[in-house]
């Protein structure tokens, strides 16, 4: 078996590793800027797609299909993002006679239409947040808001991961929010339609992992708490959720299974819910992909979701039994993004000059970079994911603290400092969070350099050196320069 991995970065490396562990071969694709990324080097073959712009590379269906054909692949796994939830791509893959390692295109299409998904959930008895059909105009949004009251949410019909989503606090904000949500929907999902939902106050974002085979069997693999978000994108996830009892887990799981069964779901998927402080849950949407945060479920449930997704796509029956899928211990994932948490998560592309990853008991790092890797501006800014497991939540958080104290990424700003701050927060330590937690948490912070750090920096500046982010055009060292340097007793490695 040979699988084309139609993605990049950490998830591409995760999938290359899954293929190798299944005894298969994996083919990587890469744009101009990604030719030496770890996932490319780990693959058995690599195909250059062209320029770095996503539409010329990772979003370019003809190029991806040609790459699969040329390298003799029998299957395509899309990862997350890019074309993972694009039914046209799924169809094109199937039409080319290849195995599509995701849910059937008609299921992606059905669940990708958020309003149709809501209808489906309501039909099988799963509660949904009050909301609308796709709106014809901003006036319809205004009418809905007047009916249920502000704040409301505007969401792109094809959206996901916070893209094409806007909170509208008052009527004055409505027109611009509508235009922006629609523009993002058009830009990212080629669909400008927008729908509206009542905003639930201080909800938790809790989602349920499911696995389904082609013979109608669906199991759930517990929930994930994903309330720590910035701009509606998750930053830290954990399982079990501190707010979910075994009884609530059972009800959430059954709701998720009911929705997926009704949709004819196959492979791995995630059903997202809002959970109120009172323990009421509402169906939000189904993510028809392997989620970024799948590893925490893997370590707490002892299941390899990536391998199961591939095997289920090949038609294997699901042999896992629901009663065997019980959580053991607690896991937390931190997403290391190249973003500056002190500047409202401004993107921070550049070069990873210094990288030292944590290791040891209970620590897993799914990384897409190595020391010297460029962090291009064109793509999702995820560098790595730190996953820790502990016997209890307290154990996992202590371990997280230890692992974060070992994790060094310099050259770009990252979200790593944010996680260190979070661990000092009593509300977070107690699990008292909601989707609006992070903005409030950050608003109360002011960071100043510690005097000892100022002293060290001043000493280094006086000595006048340090690793500087390299000039990207000077990446490729030539042999002559290397030979010249080689006699020196230096240990260095520079991944171009």
């Amino acid at each position: 078996m040979r699988v084309l991995i139609a993605n990049r970065g950490e998830i591409a490396l995760r999938l290359v590793r899954a293929c190798h562990e299944l005894g298969w071969e994996a083919v990587a694709v890469h744009s101009q800027v990604d030719g030496a990324q770890p996932y490319v080097l780990a693959a058995d073959a690599a195909v250059a797609l062209g320029p770095s712009a996503p539409q010329d590379s990772y979003l370019n269906v003809p190029k991806l299909l040609a790459a699969a054909r040329e390298t003799g692949c029998q299957a395509v796994h899309p990862g997350y993002g890019f074309l993972a939830e694009n039914p046209a791509f799924a169809r094109a893959v199937l039409d080319a006679g290849l195995v599509w390692m995701g849910p059937p295109p008609e299921v992606i299409e059905l669940l990708g239409c958020k309003t149709a998904a809501r209808q489906l959930a309501a039909r099988v008895g799963v509660p949904v947040v009050p909301g609308t059909e796709p709106l014809a105009s901003v006036e319809q949004a205004r009418a809905f808001a007047r009916e249920v009251g502000y704040p409301i949410l505007l969401k792109a019909v094809g959206g996901g991961g916070g893209k094409g989503m806007r909170v509208v606090g008052s009527e004055g904000e409505l027109a611009e929010a509508y235009a922006r949500a629609s523009a993002e929907g058009q830009a990212f999902f080629a669909d400008p339609r927008v729908y509206a939902e009542k905003l639930v106050a201080f909800p938790r974002h809790v989602e349920v992992q499911i696995l389904a085979d082609g013979f109608g069997r669906v199991v759930h693999v517990g929930e994930r708490e994903c309330s720590i978000q910035r701009r509606h994108q998750k930053l830290l996830e954990e399982t079990p959720s501190p707010a979910v009892s075994p009884e609530l887990r059972k009800r959430l799981g059954e709701a998720a299974v009911a929705v997926c069964q009704a949709a004819g779901y196959v492979t791995a998927g995630t059903v997202e819910f809002l959970l109120t402080a009172e323990g009421q849950f509402y169906f939000l949407e189904v993510n028809t992909r392997l989620q970024v945060e799948h590893p925490i479920t893997e370590v707490v449930y002892g299941v390899d979701l990536a391998q199961w997704m591939m095997r289920l796509a090949l038609g294997e029956p699901l042999t896992l039994q629901q009663q065997d899928l019980v959580p053991r211990g607690h896991a937390v994932e931190c997403r290391v993004y190249a973003e500056d948490p002190e500047r409202d998560f401004a993107p921070s592309p550049g070069t990873v000059c210094v990288l030292k990853e944590p290791a040891g008991p209970g620590v897993r790092v799914d990384s897409g970079v190595e020391q010297g890797s460029p962090v291009p501006t064109e793509y999702d800014p995820i560098l790595a994911k730190l996953i820790v497991w502990g016997e209890t939540r307290e154990h996992a958080l202590s371990r997280l603290s230890r692992a974060l104290s070992e994790f060094v990424v310099l050259g770009v700003r990252t979200t790593l400092p944010l996680f260190r701050w979070l661990l000092d927060d009593p509300d977070f330590r107690q699990g008292r969070v909601h989707t609006g937690f992070l903005p409030g948490f950050l608003a109360g912070r002011a960071t100043k350099a510690e005097p000892i750090a100022v002293a060290v920096a001043a000493a280094l500046e006086t000595l006048g050196t340090g690793v500087e982010p390299p000039d990207p055009t000077a990446f490729r060292t030539d042999l002559a320069a290397w030979r010249q340097a080689g006699r020196q007793r230096l240990l260095w490695r520079w991944a171009p």
């Binding site: 893209k163 922006r180 523009a183 993002e184 830009a187 990212f188 701009r231 190249a338 973003e339 002190e342 500047r343 401004a346 993107p347 592309p349 000059c353 210094v354 030292k356 501006t377 064109e378 793509y379 999702d380 800014p381 974060l404 104290s405 070992e406 060094v408 310099l410 050259g411 700003r413 790593l416 400092p417 260190r420 100043k448 350099a449 510690e450 005097p451 000892i452 750090a453 100022v454 002293a455 060290v456 920096a457 001043a458 000493a459 280094l460 500046e461 006086t462 000595l463 050196t465 340090g466 690793v467 500087e468 982010p469 230096l490 260095w492």
Partner: protein, 157 residues
């Protein structure tokens, strides 16, 4: 070797004296003594109060240091008092120039040259790492010149 800097935030004088790895630094009215044992431009060790701390460092720009030691990351911005302090982003004739706060691709320019703007008026949509960001002006006045077009790529600054 003796050098003086100015800490950017909060504004404080910083005075450094280095004699073969022995470092004395004054930061405002605080004094620090330590030894630096550097094993490369990427780091080395700080010897302070009998403890050997691994140090990792990257110099993002002259005077701008990203450090890691003691389990924590630190960012320090030092200014050289001998050089002119960084010019506020200012065009000719006292006019304000809008400077991109982040690198990215211009999606849309929301105001034409000649338009009147108030502080906070969004003027450009900048896309970086898959997020569209609304960039607003911080002053009132009239847009004199638009130097970017949709599709253009800009660096921060």
């Amino acid at each position: 070797m003796i050098r003086c800097f100015r800490l950017a935030d909060p504004q404080q004088p910083v005075k450094v004296r280095v004699v073969s790895g022995n470092v004395e630094v004054e930061v405002g009215d605080q004094r620090f003594h330590f030894q630096l044992e550097l094993s490369g431009p990427g780091g080395g060790f700080i010897h302070v109060e009998g403890k050997k701390l691994p140090l990792f460092c990257a110099r993002l720009r002259p005077g701008v240091w990203q450090l890691f030691f003691g389990g924590q990351e630190h960012t320090v911005v030092l200014e050289d008092p001998l050089r002119a302090s960084p010019r506020p982003a200012r065009g000719h004739d006292g006019q304000e120039e809008l400077v991109a706060p982040i690198p990215g691709r211009v999606v849309q320019v929301l105001v034409p040259a000649g338009a009147e703007v108030a502080p906070g008026t969004p003027v450009v949509v900048l896309e970086a790492m898959k997020m569209q960001n609304l960039i607003a002006t911080q002053v009132a006045g009239r847009v004199r010149e638009v130097r970017v077009a949709p599709g253009a790529t800009v660096e921060a600054g």
